[in-house]
Each structure stands twice: as C-alpha cells, then as structure tokens.
Amino acid sequence: MSTALVSLAVLMGLATYPFRAVPLLAPGFERLPERAKLYLRLVGPSVLAALAAVNTMVGKSEDGAPAFRIGWEWLAVALCIAIVGWRRNLLVGLVVAASSIALLRASGVAPLP
C-alpha cells in the first residue's frame, strides 16, 4: 500500500492547524475590549451566511472561473432557512431542503450538479 502522500497530508495539516489554534491558544482573548467582543459576536452570523451564499450562488464556468449560479438549489436552501426561522428546527429544514431538491432532480425538473 502506498504511503507517499501521507507526508503531504502531514504538511497540509501543519498548514491548517495554526489558523485553527492560534486565537484559541493566545492569551488575553477573554480580556478583549467591548468593540472587539462585539465584532467577534457578529463573526458567527456573518461567516455562516457567507458560507451558505457562496456555496449556493458561486459555481464554476466551463473554463474553471467563478460564475454566478442560478438553480433550484437556491429554493432548497431558502426553504431550510424559512423553516428554521419559522419552526426553529434545523433538522426539519435540512430534511425538507434535501428531499425537495432530490424530488426535483428525480422528476427531471432540476439537473444534477
């Protein structure tokens, strides 16, 4: 069994870990000024919304460049968000999102990505 790429995995792990660890391990984060605390409080909604939007709306064109993606996936994600806002239940939202897009694809209305 080949093991050559295990070294690459170690290097990739070493390149990733500092981003995950440095703020958690740096001293003094519990004594941040109020403005900094407010900023960090807003990171959560901001970065999660960016993740959702970029993953739904930014695709790749045929030449590999980023391209605006319009598709039924928008509807599925919006359905989940609406259900979470209404029922406060993420699991139900995810089930509805996945099953609606699966149905649309099975019926040929939405193409497979």
Binding site: Y39, V47, A102
Partner: protein
C-alpha cells in the same frame, strides 16, 4: 478552571441545549457522510491508497482543501502549491477560533489545542449556537458536535469510499449537496437576535458572493466573514435590543428583560459547579 455566568431565569438549560445540538448534528452528519464518500471515491480515482486518503481526512480534516489536493495530485502539481493553497482555503478557520476563544478561555490549554484540530465550519456553527443558547462554554457539547457530526462520519465515509469504490450512488441524487449550505444558512438564522446580526449576516452573504465571483470562492468566504461584522457594527441596535444581546439562538424566548451576557465571565463561585464550562 470554569468559566460561566449565572443563567437567567427562563433561559434554555444545558441539557435542553445539548438535545438541540444533537438534533442539529444529525443533518450535518448525513452531509459529512455523503461528502466523505465522494472524497473517498475521488481519492481512489486519483490513485490514493486507503492509508493516504485516511491520513488526509484525519490530519487535515478540511473538506474543500482535501478535494483540491486530490485534483492537484492528479494534475501533477507541486506539493508546495498544494500546501500553500491549503493554507489559503483554511485561513477562515482563524475567524472561528477567534470567535470561540473568549468562551473557552478557562479551558485547559492542552484541551483547547486538541479542540482546535476538529474546528471545522460545521463544528463552529454547532458550537457557537450552543454556547449562545446557554450563555457560556460547554466543552462536552463542543466535542459532541465536532466529533459526532463531522469527524467520525467524515473519516468513516472516506474509508468506505476509498475501499469500496464506485458501487456507491452519487450523493447529489439524494440532495445531499444542499445540506451543507442549508445547514450553514439555518444556523446563521439561529444566531440572528437583532438588527446588527441581521445586517452582518446579509452583508457577509453579499460580500462573500461578490468577492467569490470577482476572485475566488474561498476568498469570498473570508471577505464576508471579516467585513460583514464591521458593517454590522456601524448599525445602531433597535431600542430594546441592547438587553437582548446573547439571547437564545434557538428555543424559547426569554421571559424576562435581562438577557444572558454574551461572553462568559468568571465568577467567584464558579468552582461550586464542577460541570461549569468543562466536560
């Protein structure tokens, strides 16, 4: 050392919040399994051995950069380029770490070092929602979310994909590809407790897409996460919202005017509760 605040009457209990955490984890678990399978299949197609694919899932544990690595190895790119791109793609984790750091300041350093390794998009989303619901850190809850929802499913699915191979149907046929963005969007909604959070979320999404289209999706996510909060900070909260800062992300509305302070503060009596903030 424990870090906690007294929970305000009417707030969600630790047990109730953990139950919510587990429920939220279920959908993410399905998503991680689906994409772990696809990663395993891709790695197999690119000639990775099960050990190599598994090592990448355990040591890197970051989906996007693992997929890129598979493509770059297949394309014959240098390791230097792959490692550099990995760092770029995973730089957003610094935002997650910084946002969780004030909660976890009282947790032993060695444990924080271990927690950092499993800090993914999903682990952050589940943890920040859970911590905000209870108004303090819950290290056991963090591990539950990170390990159960993502680490185990991702690694098991990687091994299944790389060993069993092409007999597995495309996860997109079952709509599993929309679970990740839907989960991130749903968890973002759960963190919106006022005008500032709403503006920060909308700004993050718009800036993310704009930069993602102009440059690169990974850069878009970082830009949205960095600039979105700045936009949110310039917005004045509505009258009455000051007291709601840190209000429950999910679950019942507080039945009182006084909210749980958002960041945990050490109390003189924290040692009275051996469960406080520690697993």
């Amino acid at each position: 050392m424990a870090a906690r605040v007294a929970e305000a009457p009417g707030s969600i209990s630790l047990a109730a919040s953990r139950r919510r955490l587990l429920l939220d984890s279920l959908g993410i678990m399905v998503s991680a399994s689906g994409f772990g399978l696809v990663y395993g299949l891709s790695a197999r197609a690119a000639g990775f051995s099960p050990l190599e694919a598994g090592a990448m899932s355990v040591l890197v544990f970051a989906g996007a950069s693992q997929f890129v690595a598979v493509g770059y190895v297949l394309g014959g790119f240098s390791w230097f380029a792959i490692v550099l791109l990995t760092a770029f793609l995973n730089a957003r984790h610094m935002l997650y770490s910084a946002a969780l750091a004030p909660y976890l300041a009282g947790t032993p350093r060695l444990q924080r070092a271990a927690m950092a390794h499993v800090l993914t998009d999903e682990a952050f989303a589940l943890a920040i929602a859970h911590f905000r619901r209870i108004g303090r850190a819950d290290v056991r809850g963090y591990w539950l979310g990170a390990i159960l929802s993502t680490f185990i499913p991702w690694n098991v699915a990687t091994l299944v994909g790389v060993t069993i191979g092409g007999s597995i149907p495309d996860p997109a046929r079952f709509g599993l590809d929309v679970i990740f963005p839907a989960a991130m969007g749903g968890l973002a909604v759960g963190l919106i407790t006022g005008r500032r959070e709403l503006i920060a979320a909308v700004s993050g999404a718009v800036i993310g897409v704009a930069v993602g289209l102009a440059w690169d999706p990974a850069a878009g996510i970082i830009a949205g996460g960095v600039v979105g909060p700045l936009v949110g900070m310039v917005v004045r909260p509505r009258a009455g919202e000051h007291g709601r800062e840190g209000q429950l992300a999910f679950g019942p509305e507080p039945q009182h005017e006084h909210a749980i302070p958002f960041f945990p503060q050490r109390t003189e009596h924290a040692h009275d509760d051996p469960e406080a903030g520690l697993p």
